[in-house]
Symmetry: C2
Subunit: 672 residues, 2 copies
Amino acid sequence: MWLFNRPPLEQLKALYGFEPTPAWLEHVQKSSVRFTDGGSGSFISADGLVITNHHVAAGALQKLSDAAHNYLRDGFYAKGRSEEVRCLDLELNVLMDIEDVTARIKQAVASGMSADAAFAAHRAAIAGIEKESSERTGLRSEVVTLDRGGAYHLYRYKRYTDVRLVFAPEQQAAFFGGDPDNFEYPRYDFDIALFRVYEAGRPAKIEHYLTWNRTGLKDGELVFVSGHPSSTQRLLTLAELEYERDVLVPKVLADLNQLEVALIAFSARGAENARRARVELFGVQNARKRADGVLAGLLDPALLKAKQTEEDTLQAAAAKTPDGDAAWRQIADAQRIISRQAVRANLLAAYNYHTAFTYPVSSTLLDLARKLYRVPAERARPDGERLAEYRDSARPELELALFSAEPTYDDLEQLQLTHWLTMLATELGPDDPAVQIALGGQSPPARAAQLVQHTRLKDVAFRRQLYAMTPDQIARVDDSYVALVRDLDDASRAVRRSIEQQLDVKERADARIARLRHARDSAQVSPDAAAFTLRLAFGTVKGYEENGQPVAPFTTLAGLYQRSADHDNKVPFDLPPRWAAARTALDLGTPLNFVTTCDIVGGNSGSPTINRDAEFVGIIFDLNIQSLILDYAYTEVQSRSVSVDARAILEALRKVYGADALVQEILTGHLS
Amino acid sequence: MWLFNRPPLEQLKALYGFEPTPAWLEHVQKSSVRFTDGGSGSFISADGLVITNHHVAAGALQKLSDAAHNYLRDGFYAKGRSEEVRCLDLELNVLMDIEDVTARIKQAVASGMSADAAFAAHRAAIAGIEKESSERTGLRSEVVTLDRGGAYHLYRYKRYTDVRLVFAPEQQAAFFGGDPDNFEYPRYDFDIALFRVYEAGRPAKIEHYLTWNRTGLKDGELVFVSGHPSSTQRLLTLAELEYERDVLVPKVLADLNQLEVALIAFSARGAENARRARVELFGVQNARKRADGVLAGLLDPALLKAKQTEEDTLQAAAAKTPDGDAAWRQIADAQRIISRQAVRANLLAAYNYHTAFTYPVSSTLLDLARKLYRVPAERARPDGERLAEYRDSARPELELALFSAEPTYDDLEQLQLTHWLTMLATELGPDDPAVQIALGGQSPPARAAQLVQHTRLKDVAFRRQLYAMTPDQIARVDDSYVALVRDLDDASRAVRRSIEQQLDVKERADARIARLRHARDSAQVSPDAAAFTLRLAFGTVKGYEENGQPVAPFTTLAGLYQRSADHDNKVPFDLPPRWAAARTALDLGTPLNFVTTCDIVGGNSGSPTINRDAEFVGIIFDLNIQSLILDYAYTEVQSRSVSVDARAILEALRKVYGADALVQEILTGHLS
């Protein structure tokens, strides 16, 4: 997961004799698109056409759907531009440039500062840099921490906020095989969706977009993935890794299990329930499966032993420096404090300091209430002293979230709140003052019902009123959710602050370890992925062995029909009617999915897979199950990323969906 | 939940003017049947015909099924006696008499004994009484602790071990509405199954059986339920209740959630997987829903407040005795020790000291391995010093379990083991020596696969070999499961012993509180249900209010068809084909299910509902969701037990299943 401003030139030359030029890198970078709700995509025409995964588009599809139109399940196709429908609060970003601001940030924190003062100075420095940049350039500006605190880069993005839905297949085509096949390979999924970005009411004019490959990808070929991985944890210390194994992942898993069970039961009550819960259930199941795989990996003693060996080597090097192993001790101390408060922070502050494993949110509306309630108080503070999400530079995303017209449902709200209240009461204990406030003297289900009945937060106009209030005004608002977040605000802020301070301590200690690691390793070390920043991965198309059997690099359309037949076309192996009907028309030898050794994690979903000529050859949509431990350690023995083949995309758009105009645009690079 | 030897004569007379005679009580008692795998039933013909629930029969149906015959899903009907098929390791019991042995047990424990000595003396006294009784009478003899240690009664049962399956409907008829309707009312379930007990190869001759009511049950009518509730916790102290709320139930729920998620994912992979996992998934979902409801109830501050008030009153009375509140302090101290070890005991010793909330077992075969491994060592000890399940009086059940020919499946075994190893590692921590033994240096899934590959325990003949071994011989057996339970045996016995000692301390303290409670309450107090002993409940047919709407006491066959139509006949509201076809033939006004105020809990499933004349009017199969807290406190405001109406049973047997011979036997009381 290489940085575009530190590309792995030596490795590419040595291994593949390939030397990407600066122009190649710039073209790929600017053809790559970030979905700000967590995913990747790419431009594939000069007229703003963007391709991503159906599952990246799921949130947008759900928000456009209602009881009468289930675009998420049934798909969507705009036959002409006038039918392209604008998405609710969807924002796409394109990375325009990267600036190293390490020196400016480090300067701000004087040695000898108290933890408190260092934290404040650090936060103010970041806020200042972001604000200055966004005001000067008009670009979305984010300071990103790299090497766990070893470096700070300022990323500037062009924003697209008028994003329209062009095409999505049926969810059953995108997620054929359902939960049983999820994270498995061989797979047979048509996991794509198409959007178009607009500017000033017209399709945006795009300079950098990927041309479609026409010759076909081959086994063993060098490929690249350009996308936005969420984060990896490969440079954690042993103490941090033990925390993930013993506290974080088991707690997250327990939370996800409980929510999944509740959502499945809710969905079974009827078709409309199932539609309402579909996106959340899908997300929860995906996260649960990942947590499951990660926990199994972390419980393998071999992983921790390897980490211990690496740490012994680094500490031997550290012993020769004046600080010795102080960095590791500081991290372990900070981690102990975090461990004690982690569950509390997640539940009470919805504070997801660990982006790879976020707890399920409490409820859609409670999350909004918490964000809204703090607006007046945060606005009154200097920019550099605010919580990160209230900085001036972050205002557009904040407003996008607060004023979303996304539908919410009382019954689903009640389920989420009951779940959250139950986790809160059992994890923190019923005697905790915050729990007593949250429960208000009732059982979790009774309290949840009461909260849902006495709020107006569903109404966007009411949210806009709250947003405009002064601290005094919002303190007097009579609304069940607002009252709840108000009463919990002190406790919520306190635990977040406590964790953030310790993270800050860890970041500075981590930076020292990163320096040792760089000094030791003459080869370049790619930093942990972080904050959905753009990264370039490379690898080859390559099968693997599983239980002694070879697994081929490509699957075909024929395999899809065969797998469905093997399961009597029963859920979740049923073919959507259009696919069943198109069978005889299709060239069944067309490659459908393929695997590569490219190193990806969550957030890479929708990333283009490209060849040496920067042509689009496929689109990433999954990992195999053997890859779930990639968050913590890279291995290419069995770990594989899975893409939809560019050839299947054309074949299906033509013959299953009759979307010839889209095929034309993709092949010519222009709207006709 | 009254004892048959302490019937609530005064209450019945005062409330209903009804005075059951000794003959009435004996008749009902001896018509009642206990399923030793946890359920109830009753005799309904002189030729050994027994009626129970489909879900009580589920284990037996599953054990008779294979990939080609899915009796659990599709049902079964023996058209003649020769088609009645013998069940694997199913044992039915009938309670013949009860003897109060309180004095004999209390005598054995001298005051001033150490906890250790008291525990041993207590255990030896119980074993002695059971052994003497079973040898003298040939009846299954069990000493039961009542009033949490206030009294000890010896229950003697006649055993039936040749039990044959006669009839079962489709699971979809029995569990119509599936998980969404589970614990809900109104309901539309035909949850019955019929067995016949045999002796010496012929249908057993039964003196006491229930005659079938022909006039029809009415709203408001007095009814009784005679069955075998598992246990209730209504006389817990506050300290014990807090433990259930803060430790036991949340831990059980987390375990159940994780297993449910794994079983659902497993089942989704194909029809045969679903068949294999069906009984376990059903059981896990049922238990999870119960734990969910109980947790919500326990988190309601009102429940604990009521307990506090009751405890204050009792303690005020206790203050006037020489011991003061010592009993409560002893219980709280013992509870603290138990709390720290409870999860360890459940996971490592599979020691279910709390019968209302048992953890899922580790795996079917590992459970067998643990039981088998201890046989040689326990056999070498005097009867009174053995673990309870190895006493001579318990040998028949032990052998039934050990040599069961119930099929096991490697893939399901692996799932169960992975689940157990993961819970073990995350709950006890990877550094625990027992966890290191269990994992053997591998991740949970890798270790589970290895264990399953290297065991011969599926083979009943191998189990018989192990059973016959000496301690020295079994110590040298080369089998992955046997080796694992051997290496964990010390740790497993230690934690069980520690918990059992504390339970013993609690039992004696509880006995003192029970005396205070009896002295205070001039009215009789019914003891907590315990150990699936026969109890008599009474109440009336009565609707209730929910969200301000009246809920009628009866549903009808018409309602079943309506509910299916309301859901487009979609899973889980689909009609079995026989039911769809029979619609026009049926009298749709026939009552299908009804609710009463009778006080029941788990274990009562399959209990007959009878009228004053001891006629069969229905069969208990569920509670409504408002009853889940009944384990901890009785209330009749909304709590209702749900029965299948006797009229629907006859109507469906005739017109849906064409089982006229069965109808004839039921109405005449004899095989024709």
